[in-house]
């Protein structure tokens, strides 16, 4: 009887210790350092695009959103832009929007960039880094795939091929 008690006690204590260690290791090494985790609701934001239209993320409920953070100096961003541009009209018809968030560069630079590549999807500029902070974006490009319920499905850092983009757009079709 006493032996049984002791075993239960020891098991319980060891489990508590194991849980504490496991939690620490897990949060330190296996969770995304981004403030926005996969499965959570994407933080709402309002930004103005080059044409002066306001875009509020929550207005896109019911549609999938391909949210791309980029900068004009970032070569990997530049590489994937034409693919996004090519796929944009196709998937727009199917209820997936592409929204590109520039990380606070001068409007002039962004406009020239958009002109150069003939970009048709809306490009908004995060002048005060507010959205960048809210999404805790580190390296560029970073793309958040948001489904019709506003939930983050996947976070992609680094450049994508056309096939990648197509697959990702496909995955958030409403």
């Amino acid at each position: 009887m006493k032996k049984q008690q002791r075993l239960v006690m020891r098991t319980a204590i060891l489990l508590v210790l194991l849980a504490a260690i496991g939690y620490t290791i897990y949060t330190n090494f296996f969770t995304e350092k981004t403030a926005v985790a996969v499965g959570s609701t994407a933080p709402d934001f309002v930004l103005t695009d080059l044409k002066g239209h306001e875009h509020r993320l929550s207005d896109y409920r019911g549609k999938g959103v391909f949210l791309n953070f980029w900068g004009t100096w970032c070569k990997p961003c530049e590489r994937e832009m034409p693919y996004m541009n090519e796929l944009y009209p196709i998937y727009k018809k199917q209820g997936v929007e592409i929204l590109a968030v520039n990380v606070g560069e001068p409007k002039l630079s962004v406009e020239k960039f958009a002109e150069r590549f003939g970009l048709t999807f809306p490009i908004v500029i995060d002048r005060q880094d507010q959205v960048l902070n809210a999404y805790n974006v580190g390296p560029l490009p970073t793309t958040f795939l948001i489904d019709k319920n506003g939930e983050v499905k996947q976070i992609i850092t680094g450049t994508m091929t056309k096939e990648d983009i197509e697959r990702h757009l496909e995955s958030i079709k409403p």
């Binding site: 075993l7 620490t24 290791i25 309002v46 100096w73 001068p106």
Partner: protein, 554 residues
């Protein structure tokens, strides 16, 4: 696992060295003259039961040897981590793999490959610390419970073989046993001993609580470790960097968009001869006038956002306060603290150019380009106009030889202007960078002449919020209390017994035998009772004889 019944009737757990109640040695002591009093002879449970997996794991962590080994490994690893700089201290724009190899040769390469470049945040280092924590908990539990039991159950009357095997032991013949006992009892009580009497025998004890010192100390350490662990819980600990140029208002990172900061001015002051107190003159002469930093300061205005927080929307701001942030004088608000940690002086903010006729040098007006948000078109009047076709804040030629920008920071701004004049209605194109002008379409009549640079200072601030600090403080305080408790008090026990008409006196302490002997001498002075002999010293002043007690923090 049968229990062992002593002749005094007390039932002891298996593995007990001597009876918990009367102290009669249960195991064969052989030639050993003095009892090993460590843990009161109680059976550390992990040493006696090794049945299931759980028991084996328990036994592993219960071992002090394992605990010490873990600490030594951690110490060695920590020391190795200081040989070369950690990755956070190397220049941020280099590849660490290359850097370590280049700077420190093969040793650096090995250092990097073994992951010592990021030692204190590596999973195995954190695991080591965690294992020390586990060892701490189990070691303590495994010892404090039996020790508590043994001290609680100790009997007043002890077996003669227990008494004669104490380090301090003496036999006396006194004329009036009852009277001597009464005198001793009174004197012991006067010396703040807790005296228990049973069948005419005495047990006097004081400072037992000092025995709990090491365990209190361990509790403090464990609380400290828990505090450190909580830092990885979201929201408990924030440590972010914020760069803010003079004149700008920015969101403070880590505040979820609730606070904004405006920098009014960054001030950098140095010690200067003639302006500062004369006592500084010697130092100023040695280092150079204006070379010693005196003050780093950012004058800021703190704003709180009112209304709902929607990132990106123009915030409605309410002024909270103005404050000069200086080194070690952070701006504190709502558990946050903003520290002055870095700065960049004279960062380009705007550049001015004059539209000029190359030959005559005549100018037709000034164009000022905001380097953070340039306008596209600049009308100078009288038919003179300049358009900014392209802007490269951090100019370089890319792999294909095209002008491009390295970053969004205007470190090396370059522009493509189109200049219109009444006599050049189609415009002339000019590429202007620092110290460099290119005319891609042949000789121009006009040029953009550099006319000035506006700069501003940028402050580097650290945003800190730490809800674990008080836990670390409590842990540290408990740690110290335990240490003091174990260090400055001694657990002293004196047994006085009548054995066959003789008076037997034995005494034990967990430390400071010198003090105990002095106390005994004063106690027994004039009573006719012999001062007990130090059997350990008499025994050829030999080594330790098993009297080492665990007071470490392991």
């Amino acid at each position: 696992m049968e229990h062992v019944k002593c002749e005094c009737g007390h039932v002891n757990p298996h593995g007990t060295a001597f009876c918990e109640s009367c102290g009669k040695p249960l195991a064969d002591l052989g030639e050993k003259l003095i009892l090993d009093m460590r843990y009161e002879g109680s059976a550390r449970r992990s040493q006696t039961y090794k049945k299931t997996m759980i028991d084996q794991i328990w036994a592993f962590f219960s071992s002090v040897k394992v605990g010490v080994a873990l600490i030594v490994i951690t110490l060695i690893a920590s020391a190795i981590g200081t040989i070369f700089p950690q990755q956070m201290y190397i220049p941020p724009n280099v590849d660490p793999a290359e850097y370590y190899k280049q700077q420190y040769g093969w040793a650096g390469k090995l250092y990097y490959e073994l992951g010592f470049n990021n030692l204190y945040g590596s999973w195995w280092y954190i695991l080591l610390i965690a294992l020390i924590g586990v060892s701490l908990v189990i070691c303590s539990l495994d010892r404090v419970v039996p020790l508590y039991r043994a001290l609680k159950r100790q009997g007043v009357k002890r077996h003669p073989r227990f008494l004669e095997r104490q380090r301090l032991f003496g036999v006396s013949h006194v004329s009036d046993l009852d009277k001597t006992m009464a005198v001793l009892k009174e004197r012991l009580a006067a010396r703040r001993y807790h005296v228990r009497e049973e069948d005419g025998h005495l047990l006097a004890e004081k400072g037992r609580f000092s025995r709990w010192g090491p365990y209190v100390n361990h509790i403090g350490l464990i609380i400290f470790l828990i505090g450190a662990m909580l830092r990885s819980v979201p929201g408990m600990y924030i440590d972010r960097v914020m760069w803010i140029p003079e004149g700008e208002t920015k969101e403070i990172p880590g505040t979820n968009g609730r606070y904004f900061l405006k920098s009014e001015k960054f001030i950098f002051e140095t010690y200067e001869k003639g302006k500062d107190n004369e006592v500084f003159n010697a130092a100023i002469d040695r280092v150079g006038n204006g070379m010693i930093a005196k003050n780093y300061q950012t004058n800021v205005v703190l704003y709180k956002r009112v209304g709902p927080v929607i990132p990106g929307a123009k915030p409605k701001l309410e002024k909270v306060k103005e404050y000069p942030i200086r080194v070690n004088e952070p701006l504190e608000f709502d558990h946050y603290a903003l520290y002055q940690v870095d700065f960049r002086l004279n960062e380009p903010k705007a550049m001015s150019f004059q539209l000029a006729d190359k030959q005559s040098g005549k100018t037709f007006g000034t164009v000022t380009v905001d380097l953070y948000d340039p306008k596209e078109s600049y009308n100078l009047g009288h038919g003179y106009r300049v358009e900014l076709l392209s802007y490269f804040p951090d100019f370089e030629f890319d792999e294909d030889g095209n002008p491009s920008t390295k970053s969004r920071v205007p470190n090396n701004p370059a522009f493509v202007f189109k200049m219109y004049a009444p006599d050049r209605p189609k415009g002339e194109t000019s590429f202007v960078a620092i110290q460099q002008t290119i005319e891609p379409f042949g000789n121009n009549k006009y040029k953009m002449a550099f006319a000035g640079l506006q700069t501003r200072n940028v402050s580097g601030l650290t945003v800190r919020r730490d809800f674990t600090l008080w836990i670390l403080g409590v842990g540290g305080a408990i740690f110290m209390i335990g240490l003091i408790q174990g260090m400055y008090w001694n657990h002293r026990r004196i047994w006085v017994q009548r054995v066959n008409g003789e008076l037997w006196v034995a005494a034990h302490t967990n430390k400071n035998w010198f003090g105990l002997k002095n106390e005994l001498r004063r106690l027994l002075d004039g009573t006719g009772v012999m001062m007990p002999a130090d059997q350990l010293e008499n025994d050829k002043k030999a080594g330790q004889g098993g009297q080492v007690h665990g007071h470490g923090t392991a």
